[in-house]
Amino acid sequence: MNTQCPDEQKLIAEIRAGKLADEMRTHLKICAHCREIAEITEQLKVLSESLPAPQLSGASGLYRKAKLVGGDQFYRVLLPIWIVQLFLAVATIIAAFAGMFSGREVFSRLAQWFHYLPGLADLTGMSAFVVNIVTIASFVIIILLPLTVLGMWFRDILNEKPASRPRRSEL
């Protein structure tokens, strides 16, 4: 009797509501599949009515908790990264202005390091303005960019949906 009757869902809905229509009663007399469905549904309904009522805090309590849990988890991970990013950004802007308008190589020591890095131009012969700009740009790329990517990565993890599917044996 591995079949399905088109009236199956309707029958379950009517039994759940506690009222069988006359049309459905007539159908039950001729459909063995639906009789079996009705029998099981009615028995499970009796059991479900016997189960205790949930002892849970109300909806507003849960809502507040959801807000707190979400926000707390979010900020615990992302806020420190954001503070470091902000600090470095402010420091970079101040350093950039200082470097551009001072007329001398503010980051001369840093610029000298580029000399030892393979594939990068030797900045020692260039003007102070260019050296400062290149150094600041490098600083932004090397430190701020990875931090931004890290922040975005954590944000994605925290926003990830609980989509893990159960193993077949656990269904």
């Binding site: 009615e42 189960l51 002892q55 979400g70 926003n159």
Partner: protein, 177 residues
Amino acid sequence: MNNPPPAPALAMDEATFQVFYEQTVRGVWRYVFVTCRNEAITDDVIQDSYIKFLRYVDSNRSFQEQRAYLYRIAGTVLISYMRGECAGRERVGEDGEWPVRPVSDPNLAMDVQTALADVEPRERKLLWLAHVEGFSHNEIADILGVAEHSIKVMLYRARTKLKSLLKKRGLNREVRL
């Protein structure tokens, strides 16, 4: 970078959630309880499920789709609990007594409860979702993460098993509605 990253907003406003909660809490609680048979774990699972639901649900979906999504989350959260709890002992709540409320037919409730306890948890979930919660095969497939065409066969087997267990207890009667 001038503003702190915004915390993820909840998908529903409080009033809408209140209505959804009132309409779903009893059903989803019973579903989890029947699967794990432990009131304390059920309470924890339900609480976590609603919190996850509030963060991830698509507010544009219909009530029925959101309800199915809640059941899916509850199933996943319950499995996480089971994995954690089962590390120290064999099976959560499997030997526990089911507390029952007085009903019109307490003997029938007790017999069905005993028969259902002998059915595998997976089959219990299936039967409950189909016959008590009234989900369609499509929705059950989505909740359990199983192909829709498998549901029909799995449900048939579960029903046959429960029916034979009920028959053994002398419960084989016509619908009285």
